[in-house]
């Protein structure tokens, strides 16, 4: 065993390990190679390559699908940091394509139009690791049992409004605390309620924490938003529309990176929050109909 250089690829440790390397960092949505370079220069730990940021997907409507593989390749060539890309929920062929071109992580994302109303992708069959969205612990555990190597709360993408991200992070961590205090019978009940394997539920209850890294996504628009989510307990930040839909993307991107690192240091957050120009305009969530909300997709 010791003689084998590549003893094992695509193990759970290897897949979830990359997510561990991204912790404390910011993953930025980019739609061009040029954006990707700006993100890398600002200190992004990874980029999410896509054709339209969520705010534009929202505005333009229609079916949102995986991006052109050529765009993703160009972005992979442009930067040295990991490149993620999105597939529709349940669309395992889009995932096969991303694995074939060598993307570093796949986001099975509610931001795109779901392809399967019943099943998510069986992520254990892939060598490339997956990140999935969740709104509560039940969703989180279902995605982990399907093979997700990283989680992110969904927030409400493309709104620039952090309220859903906050609600969901609080839900996940409150439910984790509750789980840790439960007896065997209560855990069996929870496994049923969560539609998650009992073994996984027990393991998470014992550890008092999720078995994979959990980031926050959907609605983060300012350095203070990023620090807020970090203080609530998430391990890193996805920023979608919040950077390139703002007045000064370079400066805002850098500020969000610094605020994520120094999330518990108000002096630093105050300093980096100065003079960033206009943030993205944002949407008050009560103005959205149930159909216009993305977070309820793929639960």
């Amino acid at each position: 065993m010791a003689r084998d250089t590549r003893a094992a690829t695509a193990t759970f440790a290897v897949k979830s390990g990359l997510a561990r390397m991204l912790k404390g960092g910011v993953i930025m949505d980019v739609v061009t190679a040029e954006h990707a370079k700006i993100a890398e220069e600002a200190g992004a730990v990874a980029v999410m390559a896509l054709e339209r940021v969520p705010a534009d997907i929202r505005k333009e409507g229609g079916v949102a699908r995986m991006s052109d593989p050529n765009l993703i390749r160009r972005i992979m060539k442009a930067v040295t940091i990991p490149v993620m890309a999105k597939v529709r929920i349940g669309h395992f062929v889009e995932a096969q394509i991303l694995e074939a071109i060598g993307a570093d992580y796949i986001d099975e994302s509610e931001v795109l139009t779901p392809a399967d109303e019943e099943f998510h992708i069986d992520k254990r069959r892939f060598n490339v690791p997956f990140v999935c969205g969740c709104r509560d612990l039940g969703e989180a555990l279902r995605r982990v049992s399907e093979g997700a190597a990283m989680l992110r709360t969904k927030g409400e993408a493309g709104t620039g409004n952090v309220v859903e991200a906050v609600r969901q992070a609080r839900a996940v961590y409150r439910q984790l605390d509750a789980l840790a205090a439960m007896n065997a019978k209560q855990l069996r009940g929870k496994a049923k309620e969560y539609r998650a394997p009992l073994e996984l539920v027990k393991k998470v209850a014992r550890a008092g924490m999720l078995p994979v890294v959990n980031f926050s996504a959907g609605g983060i628009a300012t350095p203070a938003d990023a620090a807020l989510m970090m203080q609530l307990g998430v391990e890193g930040i996805f920023v979608g529309s919040g950077i390139f839909k703002s007045e000064n993307p370079r400066k805002r991107a850098k500020a969000i990176v610094e605020a994520t690192t120094h999330f518990d240091n108000p002096d630093v957050i105050a300093k980096v929050s100065e003079g960033l120009g206009e943030p993205m305009k944002g949407i008050e969530l009560s103005t959205l109909t149930q159909e216009e909300r993305l977070a309820h997709r793929g639960i």
Partner: protein, 191 residues
């Protein structure tokens, strides 16, 4: 006198290093600002994204103070991204990649390829461990062109260098902290 261990906590898997040290009964303090540096006697630079940590070292005003402490003899260990930050020469970095550059060695970033090429293997470490240790390589670098007083501690079967030491500076291309093994941490604490 008790030696205080610091772990650079700007970005990356610093918590995993805290957890391994806790297993050994050793406390450590997170290093995020220059005043944290004054309290420590040795430093671990974790895995993460080297381009990100390099930038944060500059904005957090830590790059030069850390470099000076290392030159003055403070023991330091970099895992993966941390190793890239410690290397004097970096291949495959971004334009203007910031790094501490204290060790006479070249780090080749993403030497094995992309995430699909990441792997785990057992690595035989000279001096640090009697039996091969579990090692996880995530988009890992390898080391090249070691200077005269750099000691090679581990090579892969294809001869590529994945662990080395120059006096007070230890670098590993892989993550013992992800594999849960305490041997290398013990080695670093005793060095």
């Amino acid at each position: 006198m008790e030696k205080v261990v610091g772990i650079l906590a700007l970005q990356g898997d610093f918590k995993e290093h805290f957890d391994i040290l806790a297993k050994l009964g050793v406390g450590a303090i997170p290093v995020r600002l220059p005043e944290d540096l004054a309290q420590i006697d040795r430093l671990i630079i974790p895995g993460g994204e080297s381009t990100t940590i390099g930038k944060l070292l500059v904005t957090s005003k830590l790059l030069q103070p850390i470099r000076e402490r290392i030159l003055a003899g403070m023991p330091v260990w970099g895992t993966c991204a941390g190793a890239i930050l410690l290397a004097r020469r970096v291949i495959g970095g971004i334009r203007g990649q910031m790094h501490i550059g204290a060790m006479d060695i070249t780090a080749r970033r993403n030497a094995f390829g992309r995430q699909l090429d990441s792997f785990e293997a057992n690595v035989a470490m000279k001096k640090a461990a009697e039996t091969p240790i579990p090692a996880i390589f995530i988009r890992a670098p390898v080391f090249e062109r070691p200077g005269k007083d750099v000691e090679i501690l581990a090579r892969l079967p294809d001869e590529r260098i994945v662990a080395a030491r120059q006096k007070n500076i230890l670098v590993t291309a892989f993550h013992p902290e992800l594999a849960g093994s305490t041997q290398l941490h013990r080695y670093f604490l005793n060095s």
